[in-house]
């Protein structure tokens, strides 16, 4: 039986708006998220067996909403929903409005990942942005509000730029379908360059790349632990995947070089800023920026080496899961129980790139890829940034190992589960399953 990918978006949206009617909000959201994850896993199984899924809803190609799901999109969807489900377990008291916003954010992130229509992606970006503004401001204290305002200001500018970019594209090709545009790319005029610039800036703000991520430190610091972790694996990962699709559309040598230079800048600035930062959450935010830069670098190598897509996937998943766990842990000062100590160490080690965890394969393949391209400055940047990263993570671990603030069971186990995810992925990397996807993206 064919699984309609649209259900992945429709059901959470539907129940988000039905939420005020239902009494037990927490139980409902958990069921929906669980259902969503299972659906995504089935979809991945289906896509892996018989190739990518095309899905048209309601209208004919040029106008209709058009979903396109390939291996990596399916895997990301699974990741987003699974982590959202685990993350939601750690939230003690749940109000209806919180559950609504949470479902909206998850639905829209999944939507961005599996949509094939550029306007559709814009709509999902809007929903994700709006819901994450509200979630960031959820704690209603000074920091939260400040973070939310900054996020909103930059987010709105980004959405305007994105809209202008799409307008240029539409005026050029009369169609919003990504693959349709991709095939007819060569007959476009100078206008396409402009649209690429606008689109890249718009999506870049959401994907936290260097000059556009001013909002990141304050937003993550203001947000509560679980929301910050949601932000770290939800919208920002969808954003970076959107940039990947963007590079796929405008696949010129210039755009890859641009992505490379921006990536290196983000990596270095992010790592150095984190190095001097004492506040745990801000430090984790800067380190996310740094990791995003690394992922962007792996994207920039997409056309020249087939290791890039594997590195991209492992870096993305390992960063999402371990940064999510670390943000949940950063709620309390120290590592309370053994479980949180285990979670902390495993996620830090995965970010640094130690073997049993997924981060190791990311580091292995990105350097292998870089060496294929004989790009010495990438290697130098990675060497310098990984040493800086090791330094501040070691400092973070040494301080948190001392404090013994006891954590309740609910709060301790979700990060442990996320950390075990990276561990399992590290031990059984299933590289051959991801390797085959590469073909499609380049194809």
């Amino acid at each position: 039986m064919v699984i309609h990918p649209v259900l992945l978006i429709a059901i959470p949206l539907l129940f988000a708006f039905l939420m005020p009617l239902l009494k037990r909000a927490k139980a409902v959201t958990i069921i929906i998220l669980l259902f969503n994850t299972l659906l995504a896993i089935l979809m991945f199984h289906n896509v892996y067996n018989n190739g990518p899924l095309y899905e048209i809803i309601a209208f004919s190609p040029p106008i209709g909403i058009y979903l396109y799901v390939d291996n990596i999109a399916a895997l990301l969807a699974v990741m987003i929903n699974l982590l959202a489900f685990i993350n939601f377990l750690s939230v003690e008291k749940v109000e209806i409005k919180f559950a609504m916003l949470y479902l909206l954010a998850v639905a829209s992130s999944t939507g961005i990942v599996i949509t094939g229509d550029i306007f559709n992606m814009f709509v999902f970006f809007e929903i994700a942005a709006v819901s994450s503004y509200a979630l960031v401001a959820w704690k209603r204290d000074k920091e939260a509000l400040e973070g939310a305002i900054k996020y909103m200001v930059l987010g709105s500018i980004a959405s305007v730029l994105m809209l202008v970019g799409i307008a240029f594209l539409y005026s050029e090709f009369r169609s919003l379908n990504i693959y349709d545009i991709m095939n007819r790319m060569d007959e476009g005029s100078v206008l396409i360059l402009l649209s690429f610039a606008f689109l890249l800036t718009g999506i870049g703000v959401e994907a936290e790349i260097f000059p556009l991520n001013g909002w990141v430190p304050d937003a993550y610091q203001g947000a509560a632990g679980s929301i910050a972790s949601l932000l770290s694996f939800g919208p920002s990962k969808a954003g970076i995947y959107a940039i990947a699709r963007l590079l796929m559309i405008f696949s010129w040598q210039q755009s890859y070089d641009l992505a490379l230079s921006v990536g290196i800048m983000t990596l270095l600035i992010g790592e150095l800023a984190a190095f001097r930062q004492e506040n745990v959450k801000r430090m984790l935010a800067y380190s996310s920026i740094g990791q995003m830069g690394l992922i962007l670098i792996s994207l920039s190598m997409l056309d020249s080496t087939d290791y890039a897509i594997i590195a991209f996937f492992f870096l993305l998943v390992s960063h999402a899961a371990s940064k999510g766990a670390l943000f949940l842990l950063s709620e309390r000062k120290g590592f309370g129980s053994n479980a949180s100590k285990y979670a902390g160490i495993v996620s830090v080690m995965s970010l640094i790139g130690m073997p049993p965890m997924a981060g190791f394969w990311g580091k292995w393949y990105i350097i292998m890829g870089a060496m294929q391209m004989e790009a010495w400055w990438i290697i130098a940047a990675i060497v310098f940034s990984s040493v800086v990263e090791a330094a501040y993570f070691a400092r973070y671990l040494s301080t948190t190992m001392q404090e013994e603030e006891h954590a309740s069971i609910i709060a301790a186990y979700p990060p442990a589960i996320m950390a075990t995810l990276t561990l399992l992925l590290g031990i059984l990397p299933f590289i051959y399953k991801i390797a085959t996807i590469g073909g499609v993206i380049n194809g």
Partner: protein, 608 residues
């Protein structure tokens, strides 16, 4: 069969994670640690010494989830395996009574065992690097348990640096040869290989703590707990040299590298760095007051000798380096364990606070005494044979700069070894009420001293163990019988020394036996006729700031050293980092401007 050993180790790892009782955990880990030892002893059949033969076959390939790891044994790996895995059981026996509760020492010791076995057996770069980083992780978690910030930060940054450098080197080799398997890599003497080899050597040098890259060793050795540090300094620091030897000699393409070895400056540079490390680390060890830091610097110095051996590259030098590695593993582990048992009883680390521990802990003292004799390379111990080979090699190669520096570092070893003996064990009895270290600890220490005694009388057996490696590395094997080593320049006959000593002992023994003597207590010491018991306690222990005159002369020159370069480097990085943090000054308008600027720049760049 190798899978069986790996499986047993991993099961034991998981099992000991959840046991709280220290006794049970240590017994399990002790039993489990015998498996790899048995495996390596069994593989001895091929490499000269077959003590036991259980029939472990020694090649294995694991492929799971898209990656394939290749494992097989080589003579070099066998030698290192014997050395490392015969080091672990005594240490675990020692820790049976050293720890009160099992807070993670045993599981991660087993993890280290797994990683060491993985490194030694791996025959392709992927599994080598995977287990190398696993070892780095294991060591880091061991350091985490004591939570000393400086040790953790320094260790992690150094080990990540070494990991990434090695990875870059491997990637470059892979890029040029297209394969990761050791057997198929052909090392050519062109520029890229040189860059890859130097990157790999620097990565290995960090683990082997050569001089400029040694600053992580003192904080780590002085804060982690003793059994682990004994294994770290005795065993794991040799893995760095295993990597270098693998690279320079065991690689099949290494013969092509012949030009690289004896003519090129690179390995001569390695020898010079090794000798300078030995020289400066010895001086730093002489003035150090904290016992563990002193042992840390002394272990850096002894490791420098091995680097000199590898750098010189001739067969005697290689044999000397391996022999020195073997000796250093055992006597350094014994010394750290002895320091641990002293601290276990007195709770003190500083030499100036310790004193007269030998009177109440004679067995620990005896083990430490023999280890120090081996450290100071007194001719009646196996330490001398190793250093002798290194000196012979240096003179044979006419290394005029390196030979005197090595000899002076050897003499310097006497200074700090006496400091340990007098400051900690002999002198005024300041701890009259302590007891001897518990039985398992003493047993552990004496087990570690045993190999030193075996190779004291018959250094020839050690050379038999190395012959298989030397021949496989294309170097001439050294002509030796069980107790005589012949080299082109001179030879060393242990039996002659020992028999000569027996004869020389006769007059001394006669004087000692024929005249009676009576024991005198500590108070009865001549200090200008003064009576110590009259006053509230005068401390007659002269171990504080022991080499002050030498320190005033030498210290100004040592001040420069690595630490000042690192601190200036650290400041530069800090300045840039502050600059980076300034960008996020929290003002939204600036962020908005950044976005628009970004848009303009990339639009302009694209259109142009």
């Amino acid at each position: 069969m190798v899978e069986m050993v790996f499986a047993v180790l991993i099961i034991a790892f998981i099992f000991t994670l959840f046991i709280k009782n220290n006794r049970v955990a240590s017994i399990i880990s002790l039993v489990v640690s015998l498996f790899p030892l048995a495996a390596f002893l069994d593989w001895g059949r091929e490499f000269g010494i077959n003590l036991i033969s259980i029939g472990f076959e020694n090649t294995m390939n694991i492929n799971m989830a898209g990656i394939t790891l290749h494992f097989s044994i080589s003579p070099l790996a066998w030698f290192f395996g014997i050395m490392l895995f015969s080091l672990i059981p005594p240490i675990l026996l020692y820790s049976y009574s050293f720890f009160s509760k099992n807070d993670g020492f045993y599981p991660f010791m087993i993890l280290l065992m797994v990683s060491v076995m993985g490194i030694l057996l791996s025959s392709d770069f992927l599994s080598f690097f995977l287990f190398w980083e696993l070892m780095a992780l294991g060591i880091f978690i061991m350091i985490c348990r004591n939570g000393d910030r400086k040790a953790m930060v320094r260790y992690l940054s150094y080990s990540v640096l070494s990991g990434v450098l090695i990875l870059a080197g491997i990637a470059l080799l892979y890029h040029m040869n297209g394969t990761l398997l050791f057997a198929e890599i052909m090392l050519k003497a062109d520029f890229e290989t040189m860059v890859a080899i130097t990157m790999l050597i620097i990565g290995f040098a960090i683990k082997a703590a050569l001089m400029p890259l040694h600053t992580w060793v003192p904080p780590v050795y002085s804060t982690s707990d003793e059994p682990f540090v004994a294994f770290l300094s005795g065993g794991l620091s040799k893995i760095g040299y295993y990597g270098m030897l693998l690279l320079l000699f065991a690689m099949p393409g290494a013969r092509v590298m012949e030009a690289y070895i004896n003519s090129s400056i690179a390995t001569y540079l390695l020898a010079i760095i090794g000798s300078l490390t030995a020289f400066f680390a010895t001086f730093l060890a002489i003035f150090e007051d904290d016992l563990r830091k002193l042992l840390a610097y002394s272990s850096i110095a002894q490791l420098g000798y091995i680097a000199v051996g590898i750098g010189t590259g001739s067969s005697i030098a290689m044999a000397g380096a391996l022999f020195q590695a073997f000796n250093h593993a055992f006597f350094k582990a014994t010394l750290f364990l002895a320091a641990g048992s002293v601290a276990y009883r007195t709770g003190k680390w500083k030499i100036s606070e310790l004193g007269g521990v030998a009177y109440k802990m004679p067995l620990t003292f005896m083990a430490a005494l023999f280890a120090i004799f081996a450290l100071a390379a007194i001719p009646i111990t196996s330490g001398f044979a190793a250093k002798w080979l290194l000196y012979e090699a240096a003179i044979e190669r006419r290394y005029v700069f390196i030979a005197p520096i090595m000899l002076i570092a050897g003499v310097g070893a006497f200074l700090y070894s006496f400091r340990i003996l007098y400051g900690v064990f002999l002198g005024e009895n300041r701890y009259p009420d302590i007891k001897e270290a518990p039985k398992p600890m003493v047993a552990g220490m004496f087990l570690l001293v045993m190999p030193l005694i075996i190779f004291l009388i018959f250094p020839g057996y050690m050379l038999d163990m190395m012959d298989s490696f030397l021949s496989s590395a294309g170097l001439a094997t050294i002509s030796h019988s069980p107790y005589v080593i012949h080299t082109t320049l001179g030879n060393y006959n242990t039996i002659a020394v020992i028999v000569g000593m027996m004869f020389a002992m006769i007059p001394a023994f006669l004087i000692y036996v024929l005249r009676k003597q009576h024991l005198v207590d500590f108070e009865d010491n001549f200090i200008g006729g003064e009576i110590p018991s009259l006053y509230e306690h005068i401390s007659m222990h002269a171990a504080h700031n022991f080499y002050k005159p030498l320190k005033d002369v030498v210290m100004p020159y040592l001040e420069g050293g690595a630490t000042s370069i690192y601190s200036s480097l650290y400041k530069v990085v800090e300045k840039i980092a502050d600059g980076a943090r300034k960008i996020y000054d929290g003002v939204v308008q600036d962020y908005a401007i950044y976005v628009m600027l970004f848009l303009l720049i990339i639009a302009g760049w694209l259109l142009w």
